[in-house]
């Protein structure tokens, strides 16, 4: 267990304050969110905190639904997106009560965030479900139920989501051993009782009493690109009902993060969205940097941003390439896989790995870029437009392609917000949100780029947004290359987190000890919690990091964009042709590693 091997940080003396550090009380009370909540639900607010610029409010559990309603509809607040729900087990924090549910809200109009802590009763951890207000609460609450055993009252379908039905216990509780497995004896269906009835038949009686064709797709199916599973009931070729089952790649990221030091978590983050692994590295590094207030040198920022944009191109290429394969256009796949190899070579030249790079570090990147990197990058960037043009010519105006993609899988703006969509999928539905522009990091504020938008919300819009984004990414890359690589170190000189230079390690005992401590024990951030988010190719990737002051994260919750995108799947598919299902799924860019974590 993480908190035992290294000395724990000091906790706040005042039990109403969780993380010890508070902004000036008067300034905090003047915040519109705090003011509105105090005015509307004075008795419900148990505490207000501000740590590293994150506003956090503690709410009495009985009032959660009303508070959430205020947060959503109050004209001065308008927190219209429920970004994430995280469970938190305080067992090793000496804090009561034991369980918290932590809600992250985001306002698309005010571009502000608030975190709501809800302490739960020890004997019976239960709280009202937020599904009546936010559709994104559906899967998020199921996940908290699965991993922590919280009961969400009035949830429409509260059952396990990531682990399997024969699993015993709730693995993210602190008293659950990280490696205790439960074998699954048989494959099961999301339609209860289907196996027995289904013997030798391919039809099923739906809720309305009509017998329909039952089709199971996945989890090992060529069009599901990974481990997604959809079971559908068809009326002719129309999908009338479907159940999406996930968890076929649940690799216990969050539990693994709790049992490894901060630096050791980097390889695990690679394997979330493994198509653009470096973006996850940076996302996690930024969360730790925010917590520890580490400054990243300009050269490292430049390297990060440049590689993140290359990764974005690569991610979109795979998404579009495989999506078109599923629609029968194999050529585009070859066209997009060739330039992707060029980007792999670029990544390989920095760190030796092609796919899972583990190149990010807290405070910078693992090692400096090789000589001639900028020229190499420019060569690669110059090769890209040719391939994008090929696909553009082959697909964009292709009549067959348009007929299959226009008007299918439509998600309107309102639903996209309610489902917590973000990234290219959200922008295709008219949700004008891009954190590179709205909450700039990594030097994006000084770069010129457009955020492509579409409002139709159909498969074609999502394809178009990605095609245009690749060109914007190239624009960013060229601007950065024109400015040149900033001089200086590739990692911070803050030796709380960064290894000392090799010649000093060999030269004096302090540096040697520093090196030894960092390698053997890692570093220990201060006690506290932060939420840090970046714009990855799939959407808003957030890391909610809770530190108890030890060398390992106490809790690391990933806000995975694919998870919230895919939650809308069943609703999207209703009324669609089964043949369009493949095209719709491909265009959502669901990455199983990130979906299931």
């Amino acid at each position: 267990m993480s908190a035992i091997d290294t000395p724990r940080g000091t906790m706040a003396a005042d039990p109403s304050k969780f993380w010890g550090e508070a902004k000036d009380a008067a300034a905090l009370e003047a915040d519109p969110t705090v003011r509105a909540l105090r005015a509307e639900h004075g008795a419900a607010v148990l505490g207000v905190e501000d740590f590293r610029g994150d506003l956090s409010v503690t709410i009495r559990p009985d009032d959660l639904l009303l508070v959430a309603q205020t947060l959503k509809i109050h004209p001065e607040l308008r927190y219209d997106i429920l970004a994430d729900i995280a469970g938190l087990d305080n067992l090793l924090l000496d804090r009561t009560p034991r369980f918290h549910v932590v809600y992250h809200f985001y306002s698309t109009t005010r571009k502000k965030r608030v975190r709501v802590h809800v302490p739960l009763d020890d004997a019976k951890p239960a709280v009202d479900s937020l599904t009546p207000l936010y559709k994104s609460a559906n899967w998020a609450e199921r996940e908290a139920y699965d991993l922590f055993g919280f009961d969400f009252v009035n949830h429409p379908d509260l059952r396990r989501i990531l682990t399997h039905e024969e699993f015993v216990g709730h693995p993210l509780r602190k008293d659950y051993p990280p490696d205790r497995r439960h074998m699954l004896s048989r494959s099961y269906s999301a339609y209860p009782g289907l196996e027995a009835e289904h013997e030798g038949r391919h039809t099923l009686v739906g809720a309305d009493g009509i017998e329909r064709v039952y089709v199971n797709l996945g989890p090992s199916h060529p069009a599901t690109h990974g481990t997604l599973r959809i079971q559908a009931l068809l009326d002719g070729e129309i999908i009338v009902d479907s159940r999406t089952e996930i968890g076929y790649l649940h690799r216990c990221f969050e539990k693994m993060a709790e049992t490894h030091t901060y630096t050791q978590v980097f390889p695990f983050t690679d394997r979330l969205n493994y198509i653009s692994a470096f973006n996850n590295n940076v996302g996690f590094a930024m969360a730790v940097e925010k917590l520890m207030q580490v400054e990243v040198p300009p050269r490292a920022v430049w390297i990060r941003t440049l590689l993140m944009e290359f990764n974005r191109i690569m991610d979109h290429m795979i998404c579009i390439g495989t999506n078109l394969v599923d629609m029968g256009a194999l050529t585009n796949f070859w066209y997009f896989f060739n330039p992707r190899e060029r980007i792999y070579e670029l990544l390989e030249s920095t760190c030796g790995a092609r796919l899972t790079v583990s190149y990010g570090r807290v405070g910078g990147v693992a090692q400096d870029i090789p000589d001639g990197f900028a020229e190499h990058a420019r060569r690669v960037a110059n090769e890209m437009p040719e391939f994008i043009d090929y696909v553009d010519k082959l697909a964009t105006r292709n009549v067959i392609f348009q007929q299959r993609t226009r008007g299918t899988g439509v998600v309107n703006r309102e639903n996209a917000i309610s489902w917590g969509w973000s990234g290219p999928n959200g922008r295709a539905s008219g949700l004008d949100m891009d954190f590179r522009r709205d909450a700039p990091y990594g030097g994006y504020e000084s770069l010129e780029f457009d955020v492509p938008m579409r409002t139709d919300g159909d498969t074609f819009s999502r394809y178009m947004v990605r095609m245009l984004e690749m060109r914007e990414s190239l624009r960013i890359i060229h601007q950065m290359l024109d400015r040149g690589v900033p001089e200086g170190p590739h990692i911070t000189s803050d030796h709380r987190v960064a290894l000392p230079e090799k010649n000093r390690v060999y030269g004096n005992i302090e540096a040697l000890m520093n090196h030894f401590k960092l390698i053997m024990h890692g570093f220990s951030p201060p006690v506290g919690e932060v939420y840090s988010y970046t714009e990855t190719p799939t959407g808003e990737l957030g890391f909610y990091l809770v530190s108890d002051g030890s060398g390992k994260p106490y809790r690391l919750k990933v806000r995975a964009p694919s998870f919230y995108t895919f939650a809308a799947n069943d609703e999207m598919l209703r009324g669609q042709m089964v043949s369009d299902f493949v095209a719709i799924l491909g265009t959502l860019n669901i990455i199983a590693g990130e979906l299931d974590r």
């Binding site: 205790r180 497995r181 481990t227 690799r251 693994m256 394997r271 795979i318 896989f337 899972t356 590693g593």
Partner: protein, 213 residues
Amino acid sequence: MAPETPLGAPAAGSTASDPRREGWLTTQLDHYVNWGRKNALWPMPFGTACCAIEFMSVVSSHYDLSRFGAEVVRFSPRQSDLMIVAGTVVDKMGPILKQIWDQMPDPKWCIAMGVCASSGGFYRAYHVMQGIDEIVPVDIYVPGCPPTPEGLIHGIIKLQEMIARGETRSQIAMKSRSLEEQGHAEEVARRAVRTLEEGRARAMADAGRGRPA
């Protein structure tokens, strides 16, 4: 007591593939059948995670797996004879992997691509299978996280060598079944053990030389 026929009289110091051990026709027939099998592998990618992306690189234009006679990727287990498990298999996926493996016709081979499929990798975790050999027999383990495309190609070449020698688990099992039907159970057991031992010795020798044979 080994029967004299139809296996032929074993010469002193001969090996399983020694033509003197068996009738000329059976040996040569096996030789050509295995030659055909090894050069016409039909892979079924059981891709779950990161390794599946590298598998895509292996089959697409740059690395082009078709140069090695394993081109025809089929997603139906019934049409393929080589299952490449690319990626982490979690406990929830286990029964599905087993079901797909059982649907493949004999002879069939299995490559565990990457450390997750081989041993669970660095996921020593509550929901991750610690190697797919918990549920299906594996012929080749390809290390790496993910393996480089060259690594997987090397694994496939190794498998082809094993197929040519008739050393894979599936081939041994098939041979055993056919001999058992003819009533040579004792010889079957001896042969299986001997073939596996020879394979292991060869692998150890390869490893000792520190380079592929």
